[in-house]
């Protein structure tokens, strides 16, 4: 008796909330906090140019993002979805096809990103590629005479107790797959991954969870090497002036692609299209990189607008790098649970 009433109540509140919240001229954006779309200068410039008002909302995990669009139909106009989750959102009919002819900047999106099978279904575009980056290695420059080239450096006994890895099951397992020479999206030998990660554990100083953790440990010279995100390593070097440099190991690195989608039932599709177009605009991108530091834009014109020696152009744009990296494909809930169980077991065994 109580359950249907609870569900009805929850639905009713979310419907009321969405009716109250969404009116024309407002663009409701759902994204990670501090990830470009909520930069005050960007919001101001967009509002001035289009007359739409931007209202930002945030999520802390991809599961939370999906929950928010499921339970608030019609509330959001733009949602930032990692390409690996686009499939799931489309299958649940949470997002709608985007008319890319309305986006003047779409033509400049690099063709390999624009035609990604993770974003295009049946010839319809469900996600506009925004930025991409790598989960690779970063080193403390003080600890190395010359940067290492192999992922095996993480296992080098010289760095015992001075290695870090992110506290994230999927990232850790995919890193283990690269270290054992496997395809991150089709891990055949899970035992090898487990054995490889088990032998890494004694090397580890701690598990980092935020950019700030990483930067603090380098600033106080407590670590030599660890997994890190390309955009963060760039930010650490250029903005925080830390002795950090990114290493893209010869064995490869994990790449991810973030894209913008329009939720089904959006009340301001026009505003959403304008916002997405602004987000992939070279002008916005250059300002974002210069003021804050950002991943690599999927818009080739935007990357070309950067100075020639910019990290996001010189290193990330290197064709040699492109050959080594593996883009994350969707993973099922079952796989995710298995990865989490493996990762938790590794963390318990090391105690």
């Amino acid at each position: 008796m109580r359950m249907p009433r609870l569900t009805a109540f929850l639905t009713a509140t979310s419907v009321i909330a969405s009716v109250l919240a969404a009116s024309a001229g407002e663009v409701h954006v759902l994204n990670w906090k501090g990830y470009g779309a909520d930069e005050p200068w960007a919001v101001e410039a967009f509002e001035k140019a289009t007359g739409n008002k931007v209202i930002n909302d945030f999520f802390n995990s991809e599961q939370e993002m999906l929950t928010k669009i499921r339970t608030n139909p019609g509330l959001y106009d733009v949602v930032m979805i990692n390409a690996a989750f686009n499939d799931q959102a489309m299958a649940e009919k949470l997002i709608q096809p985007i008319d890319v002819s309305k986006l003047s900047n779409y033509a400049n999106i690099s063709p390999d990103k624009a035609s990604s099978p993770m974003l295009d279904h049946d010839g319809k575009v469900y996600g506009v590629p925004w930025v991409w980056g790598l989960t690779a290695l970063a080193i403390n420059e003080k600890s190395f005479d010359k940067p290492p080239t192999s992922i095996a450096e993480m296992w080098n006994a010289a760095h015992k107790g001075r290695v870090v890895i992110r506290d994230d099951a999927v990232e850790a397992v995919q890193f283990g797959a690269i270290a054992t020479g496997q395809n991150i999206n089709d891990i055949k030998d899970m035992e090898a991954v487990k054995a490889k990660l088990t032998s890494l554990m004694p090397q580890i100083k701690t598990f980092w969870s935020s950019e700030n953790d990483w930067n603090q440990m380098v600033a106080s010279n407590q670590i030599d090497i660890g997994t890190y995100w390309s955009g963060s390593a760039d930010r650490a070097k250029t903005h925080f002036k830390l002795p950090v440099s990114l290493v893209i190991p010869q064995e490869g690195a994990v790449a991810w692609l973030d894209a913008f989608s329009i939720p089904a039932g959006s009340k301001n599709v026009e505003g959403a299209e304008a916002f997405i177009n602004y987000m992939i605009d070279p002008k916005f991108y250059v300002e974002w990189v210069t003021k804050v530091g950002a991943p690599v834009s999927a818009n080739t014109k935007a990357v070309e607008a950067l100075p020639e020696d910019a990290f996001n152009r010189k290193v990330m744009g290197d064709p040699e790098v492109a050959k080594r990296i593996q883009f994350q494909a969707p993973i099922t809930d079952k796989q995710r649970e298995a990865y989490l169980a493996l990762w938790q077991q590794l963390k318990v065994d090391v105690k």
Partner: protein, 287 residues
Amino acid sequence: MAAQGTSRSGLSSALPLLAPAYLWLTAAIFLPLSAMVFFSFMTDLPLSGKPWAFTLGNYAAFFSQSLYLTLLLASLRLGLEVTLWCVIIGYPAAYVLAKVLKGRSREAIFLLVILPFWSNGLVRIFSWAMVLREGGILDTALNAVLPFKINIDLMYSYPAVIIGLVHSYVPYMVLTCYLTLQAIDDSLIEAGRSLGASRLQVLKRVIIPLSMPGLVAGAALIFVPVVGSFMEPRILGGRTGTFYGTIIEDQFVAVFNWPLGAALSFILLAVVLVILAVASPVLKRAA
């Protein structure tokens, strides 16, 4: 009859005074907690918009993998160790405050004990990070004083977790013990001494038994939150910082599996209640 009448009218006059507190407890604690009990029996959150059903699977998950039990035992051990250190450090301090110091100096020392309460817990933990790490304040200070070179890097280790937690919780022990120690009549101690008891005998036969309620209350106040702690182990513990509390936090924050997180929390609650229930007759007799 007369007595009943008084008690009833006593209750009705007390009701307006009790109502705010009980309404608040109902709204802020009982309702969310009931919702969590409800969630712990579900396959998925109703909020997630996916179909869901009732299940015991979340509780079964605890028993299906050894890692949850391993972590629960590790957390219980952590709780015992922290409580023990709090007794060792807190009880003598409470005794000195209650029986030795008087007037101004007592106020000053009391203030120093309370002071950590006025700062945010996260700030305290991050301060410890600065002290304990290699090349940190402790390492630098000791090497400046000592004639030989030592290398102190306690950060990201089990001792660091103990240090951080003891620092956070020792004031509870000092306060509860101070209250019961202060209530002990000095003439009882004098009587014991004049009847020929040594200082140690007075401590064992008079002071500790009479202050036992404070010790027990302090121990319970410390043990329960420490068993479920997650922030201190995560920040100070490094690769040894995985405990039962951090696994629960992961379920809520990282993987959005509230049902499993809720079930793990209630298993912890049940275990702690059983421990307190088993311990209470023993402790009561001691008191």
